[in-house]
Symmetry: C2
Subunit: 154 residues, 2 copies
């Protein structure tokens, strides 16, 4: 708990894998916080690494930052989050992940049946016919679960 527990931004960069710019962005967006030295430099508590790991996992699943922030906001204020707290958050995404996998599998099956049956007629094929949008895709609403993006492809 003494000052030796505080990390510089460079250390957090090294240990979290996020670049400075992302860390500062997350701070602006209220996903992480840091105290400051008298000179204005950021000093992070160790717990930030767990938050960042959580953010990374969330992003990998395709959760948007807004939603990640909401999730983090649900962590208990005041005390250090316990394992149970983190587990609860993670569990809530398990369902998301299942949905996404399900949607992709449905899409794959559609593609398979298309390839297999030669049903490229626009009138019949599940996958190709936009009026019957892949079964999964509602009325232009939710074909696939949200976005699934990688941080930086570069």
């Amino acid at each position: 708990m003494d000052t030796h527990d505080l990390l510089t931004i460079g250390e957090v960069v090294d240990r979290s894998g996020f670049p400075h710019s992302a860390l500062r962005y997350y701070e602006r967006e209220g996903l992480v916080s840091a105290t400051r030295t008298s000179g204005g430099q950021r000093r992070y508590e160790r717990g930030v690494l767990r938050r960042l790991a959580f953010i990374r996992a969330a992003r990998a699943i395709g959760i948007g930052l807004d939603e990640v922030r909401e999730a983090l906001d649900r962590l208990p204020a005041g005390r250090t989050p316990t394992k149970a707290d983190w587990t609860r958050l993670s569990r809530s995404w398990r369902g998301r992940l299942d949905e996404q996998i399900e949607a992709l599998v449905a899409l794959r099956d559609g593609l398979d049946s298309c390839i297999g049956c030669g049903c490229l007629s626009l009138a019949r094929c599940r996958l190709w016919n936009p009026d019957d949008r892949i079964g999964v895709q509602g009325d232009g609403a939710r074909l696939l679960p949200p976005a699934l993006r990688r941080p930086a492809v570069g």
Copy 2:
């Protein structure tokens, strides 16, 4: 083959499900083409519907427009694409889809093991430890297959 086979943009909107704006955008980007009336209005050949259906399926899988264009460019010039032509293109994405599903399943398994084993230690957990980025994610390179996006979340 007579002019009655040509569709107005409104008809294509209705039958493809894409809004005008997207059709015009795709034309600018070279994904679809249209002839023009003497007055400058677009007239689409029927085949455009199949192209658009293909584009829709591709987008659903998360393929970027650049890559979709490349794929479409590989269709035979001059003659109307056959069923086999379309099937070949679709098949190439089957692998993509498999990869994506695999990556998500891996992520889910990681999440499961995290939830189950209580390994929230940053030093050990596959999912939480950024140094061992989810196994799947290389060196900041390719955790998950490209982007997987929905057209409009509404």
